[in-house]
Amino acid sequence: MKPSPHNARGTKPQRLSIARIGIYVFLVVSSAFFILPLYVMVVTSLKPMAEIRLGHLFALPSSPTFEPWLTAWSSACRGLTCDGVSAGFLNSVKITLPAVTASIGLGAINGYALSFWKFRGAEFLFAVLLIGAFMPLQVFIYPLVRISSGVGLFGTLPGVVLLHICFSMPLMTLLFRNFYATIPVDLFKAARVDGAGFWVIFLHVMLPLSVPMIAVAALIQTTGTWNDYILGLIFAGSDNVPMTVLLNNVVNSQFGEKQYNVNMAATILTGLVPLILYFSSGRWFVRGITAGAVKG
């Protein structure tokens, strides 16, 4: 018997509608939009220069080589020095690690204090922070150069780390305040009746609950700090140049022919840390973003 609404029974048959086809087409096109440049970067980085000169941008490498990657990592030249982007890797780690840890820690404390220990002017402070979150960083560059050189932090590692922490404070505080706002206030009250104070409640009750939020914050902060260019360029000083700044120097140093394959490899190497983070923590990321959206 041919299925029809009149003898309908059991599971409804799936049907491919025009709207659904439209959705698939849109998804494929938008993925291609993001994947194609990455594809070009990867294949170019694996081709020798002779092959690149042929100009087949999308062709797979006919004789793949990892030479450009090695060059990019350890011997690509910028100006007179030729040690690739590897030196910047360690600098970036040295900047990112303390900056991320401190900004998450301080952001969590701020958010916790603003959510649970309501004090006079807390709302005002929060509004100021919100404004801070939307201020373009460039506005502060000149005064900050003057201030940091005045206190001897200009061109030092602690200086650039401190600036990263400062600039991430609005976003981190906002993130954690909104997260703690979803936690039932009864939990806080119960802890107070149990005799816990500001720090005990934070460390023993709130922080263990914040793991998903910390994961999200770590992701946002690591990506942001690692990808930063302008603070590293201006404030890090020549000994602490982060990977992004080195990458720029490598790509823009020119001796004769442009080494596209080396440049592509260096770029991928620089972007690898945030990329790996996203792929490995996607689950946490989604969980953190949706945390509080659904109750129970």
Binding site: A190, G195, A196
Partner: protein, 362 residues
């Protein structure tokens, strides 16, 4: 001797006053229920006693000690919340011992107290579990256990059963009552559920708009509500009201309306009965008599039945007496067709008479 003494307590947020100069004394070992609908200030009062809400004015004494400015932990109280408020990342054992551990109590003492509380609440099997692995009823027992281990004089309950389903609520209600009988602590219990209030309380404080409307035993509140609000609030289905006018006649005090002429001489007035004043006569659905018994009562009326509901144990007959809505709680088995009219009567001892203007009991 009273353990808790609240004197002229006021809580105000800007122009909004949540508690109006409230006075309340709770005796040692008493089970006091604060009853009211949401927004009446009952939870605010409880939070103020716990030290979680600051008073704008007034004083709070617990066990003769002025605790108005004390931290919650220094007040000798334990508190149980509606949302359980268990620490999600800790086991049952850790939840119960948290307060003791951060106070630096020796491990052996902590273990002994947790074991005792777990024994009383039958939680021994669950000590290693996380709150997420427990049912609602078990969670609330853990929350009670957390208050229990602190070995305090006073227990505060903030709508502890509201998140549970009907069956569990009944079970845990009995359990709380049993706990009170065993421990003999002072307990203050906030609820909007009048059945919880009636069954648990030694005394009920009915609250409205930050004031206590009546503070009495459940029986007293039920039989002699102090005003029209309390009368309508307590009881389910609610009290029936009929408007009338009170008159002093040669045959004594009578309530008179178009379809009504009731002898109130048997009614115990609180003061001297007024003359020629609007009143409301209240009577509970379960005190209605029908048939021959009704015809012997001073208050008789015609109830026009619109809808009947069979509740299993009783039959509710909803309808109208004159222009006002009324409901009768009758034995099941009676066959009453919608649209029919029955004669109802109320014995004088079950009547409540209120001043129609002020709502106060006469």
């Amino acid at each position: 001797m009273s353990t808790i003494d609240i004197r002229d307590a006021r809580v105000a947020y800007g122009a909004v006053t949540v508690l109006h100069d409230l006075n309340l004394s709770v005796d040692e070992g008493e089970f006091l229920v604060l009853l009211g609908s949401s927004g009446c200030g009952k939870s605010t009062l409880l939070n103020a006693i716990a030290g979680l809400t600051d008073l704008t004015d007034g004083q709070i004494f617990i066990g003769k000690k002025n605790v108005t400015w004390s931290e919650p932990k220094d007040r000798g109280i334990g508190m149980v919340f509606q949302s359980y408020a268990l620490y999600p990342r800790m086991t049952v054992e850790e939840n119960m011992s948290f307060g003791l551990r951060i106070a630096g109590m020796p491990k052996a003492d902590v273990a002994a107290r947790v074991a005792r509380a777990a024994g009383i609440l039958k939680l021994e099997q669950l000590l290693k579990r996380r709150p997420s692995e427990l049912s609602g009823g078990q969670r609330q027992r853990v929350a009670i256990g957390r208050a229990l281990v602190r070995d305090v004089e006073v227990f505060l309950f903030d709508e502890p059963l509201s998140n549970l389903d009907a069956k569990l609520r009944t079970e845990l209600r009995v359990e709380i009552k049993r706990l009170h009988q065993e421990l003999g602590n002072t307990m203050i219990y906030v609820t909007h559920d009048q059945i919880e209030a009636m069954t648990l309380a030694d005394r009920i404080a009915v609250m409205r708009d930050g004031r206590i409307e009546q503070l009495e035993s459940p029986e007293g509140i039920y039989a002699r509500p102090a005003n029209r609000f309390v009368a309508g609030f307590i009881g389910s289905p609610g009290m029936n009201f009929t408007e009338a006018s009170i008159e002093q006649t040669d045959q004594g005090v009578r309530a008179v309306a178009d379809d009504l002429n009731v002898d109130l001489s048997a009614y115990r007035f609180a003061g001297h009965p007024p003359d020629r004043q609007r009143i409301e006569i209240g009577y509970r659905p379960e005190h209605l008599l029908i048939g021959d018994a009704a015809r012997e009562q001073p208050l008789q009326a015609k109830l026009t039945v619109e809808v009947t509901e069979n509740m299993g144990a009783d039959l509710y007959a909803w309808g109208k007496v004159g222009a006002s809505k009324a409901v009768a709680r009758l034995p099941t088995g009676l066959r009453i067709a919608p649209g029919s009219t029955i004669t109802i009567g109320v014995p004088p001892e079950y009547l409540s008479v209120f001043d129609a203007a002020t709502g106060d009991r006469l």
